[in-house]
Assembly symmetry: D2
Homo-oligomer: 296 residues x 4
């Protein structure tokens, strides 16, 4: 299988720095001077202030590491001591070459799952997939064919807590991201608390329209002219987490609810793929119930 | 001012026939044979059945009138007697050259109003504008400059009923369409009942998301990645009438609520313009709380 | 693998009639009356005249067959004798349930091939795939996994004619459609003549911009802000055949030629898929060097 | 007339710095530290390197001026001496509150002109319009109504050089930007040389497709499924200058050349408006025959 050109190649020498802190003058000077003095060459720099006065400062930058004058760990320690502490920063430093580990939770719909598997296998998504977990056994063959472990954890009214515990055990320490690829179970607050801002869901409507079940049927009944899909981080409030990406497709009176579902599935694939890609490339910072997304 | 080419030129010899009735075999044969025998030449024919079995039949066609073997009124009478009665049709026959009369109700926002005035004056919208009615006097100059009567009817908590009555008197028998071009008053059921499926509103959100007041502020607070606008027929239920057209624009974390408003106003202009054009060109049939829109 | 809802389900009882002929009054009456008298129930009817006067008449309709008063062959014969002959029609009658046979020609890029294979296997494209032919052996495993025969026919400067003859022999009588899924060989006029308006290609640019080789590199050098893809029927003139579908994606100064290629591949998948679907659903009529596409 | 919220409000205290120079480590540190030491507060910072190695460095930033420790002129001088010289920068410092002067050249089409006039008058475009120049007298009334001087300079085969000279004299020292709002004369290299990267044109096709005359007719004849418009800086090569913005609209077999023209005019308005806005907000840097556009 040919490896496609990748929209964001995980360059072997690229590092990324993400920062959130209260805004004040001098931050960019402090950060860029720190990196310059340590031999880093900044190649991409994108900054946002939520408000010109007393807002929050958000930064994503990429820099090249070959000229670094110290080890990666030393750089992190120095940054915390000399810069981050002073400005009260939340920050993370990552290496593009270090692929994130992405677990996928799925039920019976395969369209989103297949897109993620296929893209990852081609090298088109910078991730590894340590496991797929499903409350059904239907998609085992599709997954195992790619050499990926498939765990069937049946969920019923009775065993929901144990099932979640079982999944948490499998995931513990093994994943950087959990993608709900049309996983039709609601996760408990306890589960979500274990993976804050690390669970991405795809909802099959243009949120906040049509929350809850059967959004395509709801959309058809309302007679909307566009249907959509929304990818968001999962929080305790169902369908209310920070939105990462949305898109829509045009429909008409000629389209049945089944048409809306089929057309919508293509939007779901596309929207979730973009949200996941941005997360994997460290382009998303959560800001309360919103997201800052530094798009290429 | 140059007259633009019109996407749907109101050809001097073009007639339109719109039909709604219970579906059954033979309708197209009956209608097309009737017209053929009366010398009409069908040049556009678009049909939709809401369901393959026991659905509703919707039809829009255009035909050329030069070869008609009888008068326009005779054609209508004959159609009712020989075809429409048998199939239980609701129908209307219109002449493209007979421009519809469009009244505009507006408050203080001028962006949508100006688009409608400007397009109509250039001949780009097949309509005449007999009057503009506003609950403020701000936009009088802009309107009267085009030679269009401007009626200021102030509305307060006290005089709402009288104000509506005054507007209804002005409109009575003078209009085929009423456009709420960001008119910030809620019309009473009594007003709406006088003009069923003849009042088009533009709502500044992607309905059903963000009903009610300040939708751009609501959208900003929810952190959506697309904002939208919705044009719909006005019914007694606020923001719940049959949707004619919707569209969206992409926004990001960099956009303030004021940005969303500004970007959204361009979407409002575009969406309302399309809805109004389709109504003026007899492309819209209301189907319960939805619309059938026969787009070119 | 779950079978998705299909945007255009190949209903077991749906037939389609496509007509091209010189326009004149009475055609719709003749056709619809013929079908009515034979017990057909028309459920979708879309007509286009290329010009109000002396144009060409194009029609696509769907009707239900359960009430037919004669055999399918008798219907065809009767239609030719009673209607088609009189009006000089080119026409075809098809059954939605009779899936078309689609051969795929491919070189080394797998993104478009995989989309077609995957959609067809899920039942999402109404086709069967009797064979894949490639001038390379790279993708054999991907194809055979689906149980589809894979024929490797190497092409060199010397054996081009024999290679084409070999492919033609394999295809003869076995296919209703040939899809060039990024097949990097130019077909000879002799090959094309064997399959007129039955070969669909995907070109990786927004034609007529960037004909020929390396269109993404050309687009990057020109600094365009949108890149595109074009699906067209293959004719003797390279990149000049009737266009079926096009779409674009936004790019910026941040995107490298490799980015353009990666983003473009998603557009190629989407555009070719739509063109192929419309062909399979009998929605496309060729009109000289253009197409009439009766979109749902 | 109500003043709309502006997508990019010309904040009274906002300054902008644009830089182009050969890339090397330390630039961001030098620039941000310089500004920090002079009391500037950076509120938006967007950087691009054309290549990770030996590329060109592009930067656009916004900063707040209230805390500046020196005059505006002193800041400029200091920046040149302490920073720009060392890195070989081309740079410009501008104040958002200082609106650019935009002359408009037009022939007979009014759709783009009206959009620019109307937006500017509402305060929606941060510009002043010192004059409109036309080779026809048709649009005088529309322009003078806004209180803007209208200069009619007839152009014929004989007087082209004098006409251009007359226009250049009117423009000299009076304008920061010249917009060709469907101006149907080709400017000479001598004219262009007087205003390098200061003349913006709108071409009514998706360049590089359909260069030259009658692009909508060309597009109709080719049977494309999308039409477009392109805004670019004017250079000596006709239709070949650096592209600032492009967009497209969907068309079908039902659309005549006149329809394409009408639909295209809406795209032209939108595309030129965005290009002009970005130029006025100092978001565009020319990079050879391409542009870097720092979009909000």
């Amino acid at each position: 299988m040919e490896t496609s050109a990748n929209p964001a190649p995980a360059d072997a020498t690229t590092a990324r720095l993400l920062i959130t802190c209260p805004d004040q003058p001098g931050i960019i000077s402090a950060v860029s001077t720190f990196l310059y003095h340590h031999g880093a060459n900044i190649t991409d720099f994108d900054q946002h202030a939520s408000d010109p006065r007393e807002g929050t400062f958000f930064l994503r930058m990429e820099f090249q590491t070959p000229g670094l004058d110290c080890s990666w760990d030393a750089l992190k320690n120095n940054f915390q001591q000399s810069v981050a502490k002073k400005y009260g920063m939340e920050w993370r430093l990552t290496l593009a070459a270090q692929k994130k580990r992405m677990a996928i939770l799925v039920s019976r719909h395969d369209h989103v799952l297949m897109e993620l598997l296929w893209r990852t296998m081609r090298g088109d998504l910078p991730a590894t997939i340590p496991m797929v977990i499903s409350n059904h056994d239907d998609l085992r063959g599709e997954v195992e064919r790619f050499g990926i472990p498939y765990h069937h954890i049946a969920v019923s009214g009775d065993n929901k807590a144990e099932a979640e515990q079982q999944a948490l055990s499998l995931l513990e320490g093994q994943v950087d991201l959990i993608v709900l690829a049309r996983y039709m179970q609601i996760l408990s607050p306890a589960f979500v608390a274990q993976h804050p801002h690390r669970i991405i869901n795809i909802h099959h409507s243009f949120l906040p329209a049509f929350v809850g079940a059967n959004p395509y049927q709801q959309a058809w009944e309302r007679g909307v002219k566009l249907i959509g899909a929304t990818s968001h981080y999962v929080t305790d409030d169902l369908d209310q987490g920070p939105i990462i990406e949305q898109n829509v497709a045009r429909v008409s009176h000629r389209n049945s609810p089944a048409d809306l579902k089929a057309l919508g599935q293509d939007v779901e694939r596309q929207v979730l793929l973009r949200a996941v890609r941005w997360h994997l490339e460290d382009r998303v910072i959560v800001d309360g119930n919103k997201t800052v997304v530094f798009v290429k």
